[in-house]
């Protein structure tokens, strides 16, 4: 058995690759019993992949995971659960229509001769909830009737019902209000006092300082710092550990944009309840505007609302002097807008269809004559774009699912090169894209801008925003908090802006 302070989990040189991406590239991590171990890193640093490795969703390609002194590989989440590692995801994985008790004991209900011992289940749930300091939650209530905080408690109760010895919490505070966060921290302290180890993931530095014992920093899939003190390490050091780059961003030299540019897009006072508030911005012809912000800051929602894929509550979107009707993608496309959405596969591509049909998805009506499509003309147009984007393989008749992530993204961007696109909205254009294709995409974006197309770009990768954009907008919790030309900002400043404040406004870091 392990006592308090003993190492319960040790990861050595863990590597996990996906097509085109090295998500984990040598991760070291050591978690001790009874501590709150914080994982820090930018979006795409590999935190999610690491969690998935620990919880049995992914298997590492190489490296070792030692759990309680024994090397282990979890073939599925149940195996990890059984071993005592429980994960509480940001999107809580509860069955909304079952009761609290049923959720807590889902998959391991106390049974006798195949029948669930409901009363025992309820009693044990009451016990666990009491241990969490939430005896007031009725075990027989349907989970969908609970608030977010209550659901989180149920998730934790489920973990405890498995006798978890390590609790992984992925941004648990993201769904909570201020006083609920306090309560969460109290529970975490009680759990750690019982010897349970907690891996705590958060973007909010001040939370890490409040609750954390030690910090491990990830960057580009590697551990860049381990065994830092959560309370005492200076913010500047944490930020620099997160940002010091190993991936080189190769930005092609920018052709100087003409000084006088016509305003193309004007967004005025745009709001959507719970997503973003009172956003105003402009994009000129030939200008690249970048939005920096964390996942959940409302940036993707903002882009989709400008595009008409979501309907704004208030505010207007004007393109070249003409107001767009809200919530109408067709009108936006006709006005010359194009969007490459965040989730390529689910939002942009028909994976089984050939490349050329994916490229012409928004222009096949225009290419057609009297409603009759022409495969030849579509292929010719797609061929032209494929060549200009250096698409590989270049045969546009192939199903798009056979392409790599980077080339699929070229198909999505290429779609808008076929039309008369005047303003391109790019949401995470280089996510899951390898370095080579990344540089090509940057070049395409620059070329479009040089041709007078306005570009509004959202990216989690701050260097990308700074390297590509003429002007940078910083977004936090649904508001634009800073606008500056790219030259005025550096990575640390932007990171400070997007991460600071938030819940515990005013708490000194």
């Amino acid at each position: 058995m392990t006592g308090p302070g003993d190492v319960v989990l040790r990861l050595t040189d863990v590597v996990k690759t996906f097509p085109g991406v090295r998500a984990l590239d040598g991760v070291q991590l050591e978690v001790r019993a009874g501590e709150v171990h914080c994982l820090l890193g930018q979006n795409g640093a590999g935190k999610s992949t690491l969690i998935k490795v620990l919880s049995g969703l992914h298997r590492p390609d190489s490296g070792t995971v030692e759990w309680l002194g024994q090397p282990v590989t979890f073939s599925n989440p149940q195996a990890a659960m059984k071993a005592g590692i429980a994960t509480i995801y940001q999107e809580l994985d509860l069955v909304e229509d079952l009761t609290v008790a049923e959720n807590v004991f889902l998959g391991h209900e106390p049974k006798v001769a195949g029948f669930v011992r409901r009363r025992a289940m309820v009693a044990r749930t009451t016990g666990i909830l009491g241990r969490l300091g939430h005896g007031e939650i009725p075990p027989r209530r349907a989970v969908h009737r609970l608030q977010a905080a209550g659901k989180q408690i149920v998730s934790m109760a489920r973990a405890l019902s498995h006798e978890a010895r390590l609790l992984i919490m992925d941004e648990p505070s993201a769904v909570l209000a201020h006083d609920e966060v306090e309560n969460l921290f109290r529970i975490i302290r009680e759990l750690t006092a019982q010897g349970i180890a907690v891996v705590y993931i958060s973007h909010r530095l001040e939370e890490i300082r409040t609750i954390g014992d030690r910090v491990t920093v990830l960057k580009d899939g590697r551990t860049t710092a381990a065994d830092l003190s959560a309370a005492e390490t200076p913010t500047s050091e944490l930020v620099s550990r997160m940002t010091g780059r190993t991936i080189e961003y190769v930005f092609p030299p920018r052709v100087a944009a003409p000084a006088e540019r016509a305003e193309l897009l004007a967004v005025d006072g745009l709001s959507r309840a719970g997503e973003f508030t009172d956003v105003s911005l402009t994009v000129a012809a030939g200008e690249i505007v970048g939005i920096a912000g964390l996942v959940g800051s409302g940036r993707s929602e903002l882009l989709e609302t400008i595009y008409g894929a979501r309907r704004a509550d208030t505010g207007t979107v004007t393109v070249a002097g003409r107001r767009l009707p809200p919530g109408n993608v067709g009108a936006a496309v006709r006005a010359g807008l194009g969007m490459a959405p965040e989730e390529r596969k689910s939002q942009a591509l028909l994976l089984g269809e050939p490349i050329y049909r994916n490229m012409t998805l928004s222009t096949f009506t225009r290419i057609a004559r009297l409603g009759f499509t022409s495969a030849r003309r579509e292929r010719d147009e797609a061929d032209r774009v494929a060549r200009s984007l250096d698409l590989r393989p270049s045969d546009v008749g192939r199903p798009v699912r056979t392409l790599s992530g980077g080339n699929q993204q070229k198909v999505v961007v290429g779609r808008w090169l076929l039309g008369d696109t005047r303003l391109l909205l790019l949401d995470e254009p280089t996510r899951g894209v390898d370095v080579g294709a990344r540089a090509e995409l940057y070049r395409v974006i620059h070329r479009l801008a040089a041709e007078g197309v306005g570009v509004l770009l959202v990216s989690s990768e701050v260097p990308e925003v700074l390297g590509l954009a003429d002007r940078v907008l910083v977004m936090r919790e649904g508001r634009l908090i800073r606008t500056a030309s790219a030259g005025e900002l550096d990575e640390d400043t932007v990171l400070d802006l997007v991460m600071a404040g938030s819940l515990m406004e005013g708490t000194p870091i």
Binding site: P341, G352, R438
Partner: protein, 361 residues
């Protein structure tokens, strides 16, 4: 994967790997219609269906050799199979569009009945054959569009919306006809099913025309492309600027149109209409489309496959009839075939996923 593709990625460098390119385009041009794309997959599946058809006919010839030795009988039997397939075939064309578009239409049989009954009321018949045809089409299209509006704008699940319509339309048909069989007095209408051109029944020509138009619509028009896009990935279609709601509505309208045509054909066949007619057509049409390779989740399917599915079903019915076997046994075999077809579809999907997975890792 072509060879040049492999070297290109292996180089791993940003852009500019020039000399390899021409060889690749040359090699890549060849599978234009070729083996490895979606088209060839469809072709193979349709050939398999033709094979099944051949086997079924062979079973017929084996079990009833004396019938099959008479060439006139064989020709007439083929015609009767086609005639049997014609009405349900027209319905299946519409159903194929709806399923490819990501939906389902359980109300087709009920729409056929309602349109048939409405077209044969005394009041409608007083306008003559033109009035009857017009009424059948308008009623069927209208009911289809109501389905479409409920599903696309009312956000009802297609299964529920069309199931409710099934019940409601049959109810209305019974109400209008007062549960009586309505005899068609129109010589023109009644003559359609009886008529032949060059020895082939007119109904078969109607199916051929509808199927051909359906094929062109699906494969050569923007309407067909939108159908595939909406069914294949509704979010991608929406974000590409396609008016998904309007298109979904139109798909059910199209299904209604096919039902209207089928109503006239069926009324002509029986020289009458009644509320109970076209019973379980929805099952036959869905089954035929699935056997023909239409993906139930949408985005893929062919008219040719669906028509082969319909003909296979008609051939089975015919096979049982010439052997004097019961309809009950026939239904059991049909059920088995539907399950087999879906299993094959799933198996193929698993194989594809496995293949993709292997390529990834």
């Amino acid at each position: 994967m072509t060879l040049s593709d492999g070297t290109g990625t292996a180089a791993g460098l940003p852009a500019q790997s020039p000399p390899v390119e021409p060889a690749q385009t040359g090699a890549a041009k060849s599978p234009r219609i070729g083996w490895g794309g979606e088209n060839s997959e469809n072709t193979i599946r349709n050939l398999v269906l033709v094979g099944v058809l051949v086997v079924l006919i062979a079973i017929g010839a084996f079990t009833q050799p004396q019938l099959y030795s008479d060439s006139t009988w064989v020709w007439n039997n083929i015609l009767s199979i086609l005639q049997l397939a014609s009405v349900i075939g027209v319905v299946t064309v519409g159903m194929t569009f709806v399923i490819i578009g990501g939906g389902i239409d359980l109300s087709v049989g009920a729409i056929v009945a309602l349109a048939g009954v409405w077209a044969t009321t005394v009041a409608t018949q007083s306008y003559g054959a033109g009035g009857m045809i017009f009424t059948a089409i308008v009623v069927a299209v209208a009911v289809g569009l109501i389905n479409g509006v409920l599903i696309s704008y009312g956000k009802l699940v297609p299964f529920i919306a069309t199931l409710a319509m099934l019940v409601a339309a049959r109810g209305l048909a019974a109400e209008i006809s007062d549960k009586q069989t309505q005899i068609s007095d129109s010589a023109f209408i009644n003559g359609i099913a009886a008529g032949k051109l060059l020895g082939i029944p007119l109904l078969v020509y109607i199916l051929a025309v509808v199927a051909t138009i359906g094929w062109v619509l699906l494969n050569r028009t923007t309407f067909g492309r939108r159908t595939i896009a909406v069914g294949g990935n509704v979010e991608a279609a929406r974000l590409a600027g396609i008016n998904v709601k309007r298109h979904t509505m139109l798909l059910y309208g199209l299904s209604g149109l096919c039902c209207g045509i089928a109503a006239i054909m069926l009324t002509s066949q029986g020289t009458s209409a009644q509320a109970a007619m076209a019973n379980l057509y929805e099952l036959d049409a869905i089954a035929a489309a699935i056997i023909g390779g239409t993906l139930l989740s949408g985005g893929r399917g062919t008219i040719v496959g669906s028509m082969l599915g319909v003909i296979i079903f008609a051939t089975i019915t015919n096979l049982f009839a010439i052997n004097g076997l019961s309809t009950e046994a026939q239904n059991m075999v049909k059920g088995g075939i539907i399950i087999a077809a879906v299993l094959v579809q799933q198996f193929r999907f698993k194989a594809v996923t496995r293949f993709l997975h292997r390529n990834k890792t």
